[in-house]
Structure formats: structure tokens, C-alpha cells
């Protein structure tokens, strides 16, 4: 008997401007998630793995890695937003609004803030602002992404084109900084880093030495942990007949790998306050070795905080090639084939003088 119980998911014509979609599977963060995140990335930031260190800078308990929050929240949007996506086109205005700790439960919803059918009539771009709230209904993360989504019915009428205005970056006075965050007891022995906010110069480029090879199970475990069910990461049988002939690595894996690899040189970057923009320039596959370099885009003072500053950074992920060997990330306006990530983000860092 034919069943009506499965759905092929939303196609472009199913999205309506301004509608709000509540995503399934609220998720309580556990100590197991934190340990797995370390095992998957090798992250060494003491804020996320040392309770005494977290307490020394004012937290009641260690917050989880900002990117773990991002991936778990993001994963919940996939079944409703991007299950029929042709491509994830970009991120903007990603704001980390409040720290998340073990025991917190995240619930996520998305609002459609833009629609534009492509001229081929076969697909279109959907813009959503997603928000994840904790069990107290406080927003912890808000972000915009836009994806190209297939039409199921080519004859479905095109919606009115609406393209949201998005900020080029989250301005310094828009960053959410916990009032309790204090740097008076900041212990650089715990981070292993000797450089503070003042030590970074706009234009400075840090070629991080370490590389990380992505194994097949690594990325599968991570993506499943995030309950991100995009088929192209899990289903080798399906992907045999795709352009690439094999599974793709979830782009968030690359972001986390680059962030962990860039620890050396950015040890005192306490947390991520915002992601301003992001592009997955080329796909990654199991077996690729990821490297990264960081470029300092800007250095901002923060309102009412003379102990803490912000650094706007560009983190470029490169596969199978040392960052020192890559002079230009783009050639004729298109990315070098080994560039896999171009992310513009903002971190908080203690100031040497006033902490």
C-alpha cells in the first residue's frame, strides 16, 4: 500500500516570504558532545575544556565551543531548508548572543527573509534568518544563510523577488559580550599564548603550520552528532552517481578544522563573537588534508570594555597545500582550486594593557 508518510522536502516554490519554520529536535547539550568535539577537531582552547579556567574568566561553567553551538543549531535547519539545496551560497550576520553550556537545550527556528527565482526557472535562492534559543527562550545564536534550492514544479509561479539587506560585518557595538566575562585573572599559561589584542596588526597574515586530514568516519560522526541529515554527506551509494562520485564533507567540518588549526598564533582569542561572511569555495572530501591561514582584517576597541578588544579575522581553508605556498586565493575572480573556505569572523581577545 502506497504510504503518504514520507516527504521529499521543501522545494523552492514551497517557501513563502516571512513565514516562520520551527525546526524539529530540540537538543540538550551534554558532556559527551563536548568530548566528541575535542576528539573530532583537536581543539585546545582551555575555555571549553577546563572548568577552572572558565571560572577564572567569569563563567559559571565552561561554555561549549561557539562552533559546536553553530553546527548543532545549523543541523536542525537542514531538513526544512536545505534538503533539496543545490548549494549553500553563503552566511552573513552570524551573531553569538549568549554562551551555551552543558545542560542547555537549543531550539531553532527560521524565517524566510528573501526569495529570488533564478532566470533558468529551475531553481531559486532562499534567504533565511535562523535563531536558536535556549530553554529560557533566550536567543543564543542568530544567523542568515542563503541557499539555492531546486524547484520541483518548473511551472510553479515565481515569487516576487526580495533580497534582504545584509550587513557586511557585525559592527563592534553590535557584539554580545557577557557582562561577567573578566580578564583580570586571564592566565596565558593556560592558553599557551603570549600575544594580546594590541599585538595584532591589520594586514598581518599568519600561516598556521598544522594540518588535519579528514577521515571518512571523522566527518560522518561529526555531521551525525549535529543531527544534520543532508544526504550528500552520508550516502555513498547515492553519491556514486553525483558529479563528484563520492560523499562531500559538510562545510562546517572544514570551519571547525580551520579554527582548531589556527589555535597556534591565536591562542588568546577567547571566543567567537560573530561570523561576518563565509563561503565554501570548493568542496572537500575524505582524505583531504586541511590547512589554514589567518589574515587580520581589523582591530576594534569595544564600547565600555578597556580590558578586551575584538579582532576581525579572515580564515582561509586550503586543502592539500601548505598555506605558505599560496600567495593568491583568487585568480581572475574565482577561487584557487585548493581553497575550500573563506570565512570572515570576529573574536574577542584580552588587551595586554588593561586586563
Amino acid at each position: 500500500m502506497q504510504s503518504n508518510k514520507t516527504s521529499s522536502g521543501r522545494f523552492f516554490e514551497h517557501f513563502t516570504l516571512n513565514e516562520v519554520i520551527n525546526h524539529a529536535t530540540p537538543r540538550t547539550i551534554t558532556a559527551g558532545d563536548v568530548a566528541l568535539y575535542i576528539a573530532l577537531t583537536g581543539s585546545r582552547n582551555p575555555l571549553h575544556c577546563s572548568e577552572p579556567f572558565a571560572q577564572s574568566v567569569g563563567y559559571q561553567s565552561a561554555p561549549i565551543d561557539d562552533l559546536l553551538t553553530f553546527h548543532i543549531a545549523f543541523g536542525k535547519t537542514v531538513p526544512d531548508i536545505s534538503v533539496n539545496a543545490v548549494a549553500n551560497l553563503g552566511y552573513a550576520d552570524v551573531r553569538f548572543l549568549q554562551p551555551v553550556s552543558v545542560g542547555d537545550t537549543l531550539s531553532t527556528s527560521s524565517q524566510v527573509i528573501g526569495l529570488k527565482q533564478n532566470s533558468n526557472g529551475k531553481n531559486g535562492v532562499v534567504y533565511v534568518r535562523s535563531t536558536s534559543v535556549n530553554q529560557h527562550n533566550q536567543p543564543v545564536l542568530s544567523w542568515v544563510r542563503w541557499v539555492m534550492v531546486h524547484k520541483n514544479d518548473a511551472n510553479a509561479p515565481a515569487p516576487e523577488t526580495t533580497i534582504p539587506e545584509l550587513p557586511a560585518f557585525v559592527a563592534a557595538d553590535q557584539l554580545s559580550i557577557p557582562a561577567y566575562l573578566t580578564t583580570g585573572n586571564f592566565d596565558q599559561q593556560a592558553t599557551g599564548g603570549q600575544f594580546y589584542w594590541e599585538d595584532y596588526q591589520t594586514g598581518e597574515r599568519i600561516n598556521h603550520a598544522a594540518g588535519l586530514t579528514i577521515n571518512q568516519s571523522d566527518h560522518s560522526l561529526a555531521t551525525r552528532l549535529y543531527q544534520n541529515n543532508a544526504r550528500l554527506h552520508f550516502d555513498a551509494h547515492l553519491m556514486q552517481s553525483s558529479t563528484f562520485g563520492k560523499r562531500l564533507v559538510y562545510g562546517g567540518i572544514v570551519i571547525s578544522a580551520c579554527r582548531a588549526l589556527s589555535y597556534e598564533g591565536l591562542e588568546n582569542a577567547i571566543s567567537i563573537a560573530a561570523i561576518n561572511a563565509g563561503t565554501h569555495a570548493n568542496p572537500s572530501f575524505a582524505g583531504d588534508t586541511i590547512y589554514t591561514f589567518t589574515e587580520v582584517l581589523d582591530r576594534w576597541e569595544l564600547p565600555n570594555r578597556n580590558d578586551l578588544g575584538a579582532l576581525r579575522l579572515r580564515m582561509v581553508g586550503i586543502k592539500n597545500m601548505n598555506p605558505a605556498d599560496l600567495a593568491e586565493t583568487k585568480q581572475f575572480n574565482s577561487y584557487h582550486p585548493n581553497v575550500v573556505l573563506d570565512l570572515d569572523y570576529t573574536v574577542l581577545m584580552p588587551r595586554k594593557g588593561n586586563k
Copy 2:
């Protein structure tokens, strides 16, 4: 100096009718187990990953996935029961008696309830009923399985043949349903499912779209987490000289994969109440992509519960082939070579009308 400290384990002639075997390694469930189970399966059932959702349906704390309980309990029986098994022949009368949460400790024992030497004189079938109890000595899981076990001494006398009577299924009035389970606040936004008990029809077949490729590390990690030490899953050197030339995937991995893959279409199935019967129709190996379809076998009302019903389901696991392409699971009484699992189980689901 020759050591007497290792044992080659029990062979067929070492089992005695009615004897009780207490298995080693009591196991306390942790938040780490729960996170790993999500990472290994991609399970999205909010009952197991959201404390607020679990509380909204009456649980004091989120219960772990029923299959995680099963695998951990099952694993403890392997060193004593099936280390010299030729094959796991089947399961029956698997009853989930009480939810298990983080902090509970499971201890498992088995009673031999049947013995039958095969006519070749080289092996025989052992039937055991295994029971796992929590730290309060309350049974949480009880199941029967039968395995074909090698004889070590072909001249050992055959035991009297005893074949236990096993129920074809666990009847509705035998299902254990927590008295505190309540569906009044059941939130279908949390599950993402719109279908309730009344919406399912006997004979209905749901072809679940998602597939999951089993990586080598995935199944190794899972089987070790369950402390199941069956050599054929871990020892590639040993398995080179086996019929298959490589490691086999623990059958429980396939059960969990199918259960997670069948989430879409069964979102409101709160928990598993029983496994009525199960067969691993063909072996699986790393690299296989698992798909599944579900057939609704029956729909039962439950005594004293008009807010909740039971669905008896058949979950068929298929490798490297879309379920929609498989019309018949058997040909001439033997399984299609791509069918890897045929499981008859019972879930609890809220009733639309009375919840």
C-alpha cells in the same frame, strides 16, 4: 611457562539446560554514551536528546535510546554465549521493561532455555533468555536469542533436545508502558512528525529515502562502546582467512541504522516496546550503504490507555539498493542478497484523538 589464564570460551557441550550465567562488566550509562549513539546513528528522536521534551511527556530525565540499552546489554552476553558462535540465528520476545537513563547501571545474566545438537554432530543451537537489571535490581530488558555454537569435542555426548516455546510476538497486554508516560503535552514540532497512531494502516509500506554508509571506524567504535568483544568485528588479520576475507559489521549496527533512517515517516513513534522477531538475512561490511523500508503489520489499542496506541512494524534493512527498487524481500524462500535485516518490532505512538 604455559599459562592457564586464557580460555577459548564456551563450546556447545559446555552449556547445560537451565543454568544461569552472570555476565561480567556491569555498566553505568553516561552522557558520553548518549552523545556517541547520536554520532554513530544520526538519531533525531527528541525523547533521547532533549530533557525538556522528555519531561513534557512525563519522564524525570531523558531515557536513552531503547536500542542503546539493547546493544549494551547484549554486548555483555557475547563473551559467555556467542564467542564460539557459528551464527546468530534469531531474536524473540524482546521486552523493553523499563526506561534507562544516564546514571543507571545495567547488569546482565542469561539462562539456558533450550539446546539442540545438529545432526552433523559438529555444532548445536543454544537458546538463552537474557535479562538486564538496573542498580535497583529492576529488570529493564529481557530477550531470547538462539545461536549456533561449535562443539570443541565432537565426541561430547549430545544433550537432550529442548526447544523453548516462543511467542510469535509480544502481545499488546504484555507491553510495559511507564505509568508516568503522558501525551497531553506531546509536541509534534519537536518531533517534526504530523502522523499519529490512527494515521497508519495495516499493510502500508513506507520507503524511507535516506541512506547511511557504514564506515570502518563507525561500526568498530559502536561495537567497542557496547563492550561486545566478538572477534569477527575487530580483527582484520583473523578475518582475512574467513569466508568473507574481511571484518563483518555487528548486526546491531544495522538495526540502529535502520531505526534512525526510518525516523522520517515514523517521527511520533515515542519508543520501542518490544522486538518480536529478528533475522540478520545477509552480512554487512564497511562501505555498505544501508537503506530501509517499514511495513505496518498491525495496529493495536492498549489496555487502559486511550491516549496511546501500539504499531507492530516490519523494518527491512537493504544494502546498496533503494527500497523502492525492491519489490520482494524473498525469492524461493531465501532472502534477496541485498536484504540484511528483517525485524518485527512494536512501537508506542500517541493517538491523535485522545492525546
Copy 3:
């Protein structure tokens, strides 16, 4: 703009006798670490996975596996000590001073206790004593290791040669045994072992039957969990141009595999009190299947404890070869090519007579 933010790490000429190096990233142990350790090794010792069992032998809460403590503490020393190592030459005087449980935070430091430049002038041997303390500043682990480290500047002057005196083994009266450890309720059903201290004979060799194939993700996950950032374990791109052409497995993975594999035959070995000496005889790679045998080197009574004894054991790790097939671990003073580990360590075990 050239950045000064990354460092190529310490070379031989950067170590000074007696200097103390405080390592970054204090680490709070979580339930996630414990679950991952089981998933990575298959360990079945109930002391580490059953709260009731741990309490039955006097612990307030289950201690983590001694080797998990070792790997996490060891990992912290890598960025400062061995990032430019040619080879890890050995361990000695490894003392497990106090049990570690979930919630404890480990901080690690090292003192340089010996230096010897090699006659080639290109590298030298650095001896360090490392100590890990918990959040109460109580030492939980202390160990000596020596590594051969590259010189960066071949013209840097050689330091005065100092070679520390190291004990051949940690003597019985030097072992740290928790005063609260009690064996009166020791439950051999929980361990599955029937042999006690008195049952082991000096010279006895136990060939453990089980083997464990190391998958690529397994060892990567473990090494990252320990926050050990030695590049040769993670960076396949880099290692393509190495002697071996591929990534090496962190030696600690092999130690843990052997310890878990040797459970059968040593079930009642409660905990590790010391590692007396250790050598990684040959490298291991993903795909290798690890086997092990144990030789009883000595059997010691313990001062003031007639319920507990110590066994000094030799644990030999072998790859891709059954232990029963290896008569001699060395030929002409060099290790058989399949021998990967030769570890001399001491365990505590209840005495049959007096427990």
C-alpha cells in the same frame, strides 16, 4: 605582512637543564572522555565503567582508566617537548599517584632533568620529568621520558651532558595505593576473572587471543581527544614525503589497545600502579591488527596490605601476527619487525587468601 605569531617550537638548543615548562590547556575530565575511551579501546574493566563496582571497592566515584589519565597528561607536553622530536626513546618511573575521576582538572608541567647532544651534532636527547596535578594541586601522575630532538641551529653550542639516574622499576614500597581501596567486597562476577595475585607465577606467559585492527579514524579521534598535536599522526599530506609515506599511529594507542586486549587473563588487575619502562619497538599504521602477550616478571607483596598484591608484568604488542607464533621478541638484539611495544608495568590485584 610577516607574522611573528607562530613558532616552529623548541629545538634541542632551546632546552636548559632544570628549567620548568608549564604546559597549556588544563583539562577537565568528563563522562564523554570515559565513553570515548571505551569506544576506542573496548576496555571492559568494571572499575572504570560501573559506579556500583567502583564503590564496592572503596572509591567514591569510578576512577578513569589509568592510561586515559596518562594520554591526556602526556598530550599536553607534546607542543613544548616533542613537537620537533626525531623519536620518543623511552619512558621510565611512571607513577600513578592518585586516581582521577570525572570532574577533576589536570594541569601538567615538565622539568628538564637531562641533556645529551648526539655526536652527529644534529640532534640530542632531552630527558624530562613531567607531573600532572589535579585542581587541588595534588600530583596524580609523574613520569620521565626522553626524546631525541632536532637542533635548529647546528652551530648552537652543546650543553653539558647530564644523564639522569632512573630506577629500573618503581619498587613495591614506592607504589601509591589509595588508603580507601578495599577488596573485601571484590566481586569476581563483575570482572569475569577467576584468578588472583597468588595464581600468577613469575615467568608465566599469557598469549591473549583477541586482536584489534586500528582504523584511521580510531587513532585520529583518540590522539585528538588527548589534545596531542604531534603532526605525524594527523597530517597525511605532510607524511607523504616522510620515510613511511603515511601517518603514524600515536604510540599510546598501541599501549591502550594492548591493555584492553590483555583483559582476558588479567581480569582482576584492578589498576595500574606504575610503568617501569617502555619502548615503541616499531611504528604502527592504520590497518595494522594489534595482538599482545603478557609475561609475569615478578610478584610482590605490598607493605601494610595483606589483601592486595602487585604484579610486575611485561606487555608485548605485536602487529599482524598471533602472539603464539612469536617465540623471540628480539633477534641479534633488535626487535622482531612485528613487535611494536615492549612495556614493563605494575598492576594491583586482590589476594585470594586475605581479601
